[in-house]
Symmetry: C2
Subunit: 235 residues, 2 copies
């Protein structure tokens, strides 16, 4: 995945591989990291879906973003003293773990790897920023449309999206926690999308009936996801 940013040299690939510990299979609904924990490792999600979220004292949950295969998990608080969020799997998943200390050591030898991670983090933040706009300044239907389009595009980049839809294990409750809404309202918004002939989410699968219409509604600009790093500008 990082390879989308720069073309790695041999030694860089080797260094990267040394970092990755054996893969681990994980059940659905398992906590991978907890908010507030001190020592933090970072994962790469190889298969399955996960969500990164924060909890409030009264039990409300805000999902920061959804992770699909190829994404980092916990990259954000990797260098911070305490994790600022929790991560939970949404489906069965396959992950591999990085150790903080070893990554830091490797970074000193392979500076270009650091730049690649910097790029990945920037992209992740661009996604979070879009969610902020979704919640803050878009109506429920616009924001939800945007979210569904974004996920579709990200899936396509890693080869998991087909035209016209994708397998989507997100429950209405998960979507609600991501959008700052109630599951009940998400249900009604999904119905609106269906009745308008734009998209329908039924039985773990999203079908897009009118891509152009959805994009127009959501004001979806692909630029923040489409980049493949600065490969286009070789050093």
């Amino acid at each position: 995945q990082l390879g989308r940013f720069i073309n790695f040299r041999e030694d860089e690939l080797k260094g990267l591989q040394r970092l990755v510990e054996p893969r681990r299979k994980v059940e659905a609904h398992t906590q991978l990291t907890f908010e507030g924990q001190g020592r933090q490792d970072c994962y790469v999600l190889l298969e399955g879906w996960a969500a990164c979220y924060k909890l409030l004292p009264d039990g409300k949950r805000q999902i920061i973003n959804f992770s699909i295969p190829g994404d980092f998990l916990g990259l954000r608080s990797f260098l911070l003293r305490t994790a600022d969020h929790s991560v939970v799997t949404l489906t069965q998943a396959l992950v591999s773990q990085f150790e903080q200390q070893r990554v830091l050591e490797t970074l000193e030898d392979l500076p270009r790897l650091g730049a690649a991670i910097l790029w990945a983090l920037s992209r992740e933040e661009a996604i979070v920023v879009q969610h902020l706009v979704n919640i803050g300044r878009r109506t429920a239907i616009e924001g939800l449309a945007h979210l569904l389009l974004e996920i579709g595009q990200r899936l396509r980049v890693v080869g998991l999206g087909e035209d016209g839809g994708y397998a989507c294990p997100l429950t209405q409750e998960a979507l609600a926690d991501a959008m700052g809404l109630t599951p009940i309202h998400v249900n009604r918004i999904l119905r609106q999308l269906r009745e308008r002939g734009l998209a329908s989410l039924t039985g773990r699968r999203l079908v897009i009936h009118d891509l152009a219409g959805l994009r127009e509604l959501a004001d979806f600009n692909i630029a923040y996801l489409d980049h493949d790093g600065i490969k286009h500008k070789p050093e």
Copy 2:
């Protein structure tokens, strides 16, 4: 500012200094970067306040975060192909500019500098994530209280905050665009904060009357800002 993360060596400081171009004085309400622009430089804000935001087609504005002295401007889209946001100054300001190309070259020689930037970016993202929670899952008064506390704490870290309040040039409109509300509603919420004896924002200055009460209301946990990098864990 980056020095809060690691203790730099001599050569690293020198390399850092070579990167920084002459300081530039900028008027209030000047655009520093535009969403969608291709070539991007990155700034450090030395004096004054700025805001980073996105615009929607219908003219609505979402402020992503506020920048105070010591913050990077545009760090997030530094490595992305197109800027995902705009930056505008809110007051008169003093900035110095980095050039993308030269930073990338320097990173190869000084890998620890890369780690420090990675840390700064992580911290910035943690702030954005808090805003997401403010807007998504907190009520208007809780979220606003949280935002005001966060700014106060950040100011204190750079030596600009006094106990009991701080100079705050944010208009109610700016606060509204940050919180996903209308200026009118921000006004009413500020009144509530005043009437509850928690804090009052009048004439470019925020006075905090009951810090503990505010923190309780906002569920403010300082951890996401308090860290000073991994200095505590020398390599």
